[in-house]
């Protein structure tokens, strides 16, 4: 997928945009529906997300980051802005990309793919109770207090499950280095 980003960034390749649209559109749409949008709004927001990826990719040629993470961050910010009508405080991962420079080497693209697979695997290995709080935060958009209320457990339990889940994922990535 790093290659896709590069084709967009360097050559503004329309075929790359179609590929982006077909790969990520249905997932971003699913994400928006999960966060409370109706199907029409979700499709609009998915389209807007991918157009933003297209426009921003040109600014950050030489990106070593993950396309998937980019799409997520842009979708997340749009969702906060449009569905919650709040300020999306999170910066897009721009500043990290701005710090990166030069062409990604083929083994960097490979490393990137491995990293993303490792995150997937570590998530899948989490005990169900930890997966649950992570999914409620990322996919349902619930705050710590809302998760505590939903599950009928103390705030401290919710937060400690999140911390442990994160520590495991971080450890899985460190073992890769």
């Amino acid at each position: 997928m790093a290659d896709l980003l590069r084709r967009i960034a360097e050559r503004a390749d329309p075929a790359a945009f179609r590929e982006l649209y077909e790969t990520y559109g249905p997932r971003v749409k699913a994400y928006m529906i999960r966060r409370g949008a109706d199907a029409g709004t979700a499709e609009d927001l998915a389209q807007e997300t991918l157009l933003m990826v297209w426009r921003k990719a040109a600014l950050y040629a030489g990106d070593k980051g993950s396309m998937t993470t980019w799409v997520f961050a842009i979708a997340r910010n749009l969702r906060i802005d449009r569905l919650r009508r709040e300020v999306p405080w999170q910066e897009l991962p721009d500043w990290r990309l701005a710090e990166a420079s030069g062409e990604p080497l083929p083994d960097e693209a490979m490393a990137e793919k491995q990293t993303q697979q490792r995150v997937q695997a570590a998530l899948a290995e989490l005990p169900a109770e930890q997966q649950q709080v992570v999914a409620l935060a990322y996919l349902e958009g619930l705050s710590h207090s809302e998760i505590a209320a939903r599950l009928g457990m103390p705030l401290g339990t919710v937060k400690s499950r999140m911390r442990i889940a994160y520590q495991k994922i971080r450890a899985a990535l460190e073992s890769l280095e």
């Binding site: 503004a12 329309p14 945009f17 649209y21 077909e22 559109g25 249905p26 997932r27 971003v28 749409k29 699913a30 994400y31 529906i33 199907a39 979700a42 499709e43 389209q47 991918l50 297209w54 426009r55 921003k56 600014l59 993950s66 998937t68 993470t69 799409v71 997520f72 961050a73 979708a75 997340r76 910010n77 969702r79 906060i80 300020v87 405080w89 999170q90 721009d94 500043w95 990290r96 995150v119 997937q120 998530l123 992570v134 935060a137 990322y138 996919l139 958009g141 619930l142 705050s143 710590h144 207090s145 103390p154 705030l155 401290g156 919710v158 937060k159 999140m162 911390r163 994160y166 994922i169």
Partner: protein, 207 residues
């Protein structure tokens, strides 16, 4: 500036997930803008978002993809500089000396910052040695030091340091150190003050 007091991992996770309530997200963003360590953590936590996004069952797009637009017109965000981190600039401006303070108690001033979304957001200025009145928290509270320092039972907080506490911390009564302190405080719910000062502070709803 050496930052030693960071956001809790659970706070960072919710921040990266986009599910931290508005006021808390504002202070978290301000800390992250100042703190390279937490930026690194957020980068990892956003990967979790990417992984979860690709694991969602797809919902087919109904319309064909739009024509690809011209590229250009977007600017990179400026690098942080000065005392006010970029996420707070739209409220505070770039200069802490230009803030119009409201007096609330001897040696204590504040400036409410309007936010959309849940919770309350305030700039607080404490004169040398002044204590924040005894209070407890509904939900979570984030305090980020912008100038000077705060001292509490767990130690000292300088510029960029953040105190991340919740309702399970019974009392939290930080005090400004000798040079005074300016900080930004976010509450998930209005803070409950105890004792005589509570009456005094009640008109400043949400402090």
């Amino acid at each position: 500036m050496t930052i030693t007091r960071h956001l809790d991992d659970a706070t960072l996770m919710s921040f990266a997930a986009g599910s931290l309530p508005g006021a808390l997200a504002a202070v978290a963003a301000a800390h992250v803008a100042m703190c390279a360590r937490c930026r690194g953590e957020v980068a990892i936590l956003e990967r979790i978002g990417g992984a979860l996004l690709t694991s969602l069952p797809e919902v087919a797009m109904v319309r064909p993809g739009p024509a690809t637009p011209e590229i250009g017109g977007l600017q990179k965000a400026p690098a942080p500089s000065g005392e006010v981190p970029p996420p707070l600039m739209r409220f505070v401006g770039g200069n802490l000396d230009a803030v119009r303070w409201r007096w609330i108690a001897p040696g204590l001033w504040h400036r409410p910052l309007p936010i959309r979304g849940d919770g309350s957001l305030h700039l607080i200025k404490g004169a040398s040695g002044v204590k924040v009145p005894e209070h407890d928290h509904g939900g979570s509270e984030l305090t980020l030091v912008l100038r000077g320092a705060l001292i509490d039972a767990t130690g000292r907080y300088g510029p960029g340091d953040v105190a991340d506490v919740d309702e399970e911390v019974e009392q939290h009564t930080p005090a400004a150190d000798a040079a005074g302190c300016i900080c930004v405080v976010a509450n998930e719910q209005p803070t409950r003050f105890r004792g005589g000062l509570a009456r005094l502070l009640r008109p400043w709803h949400g402090l």
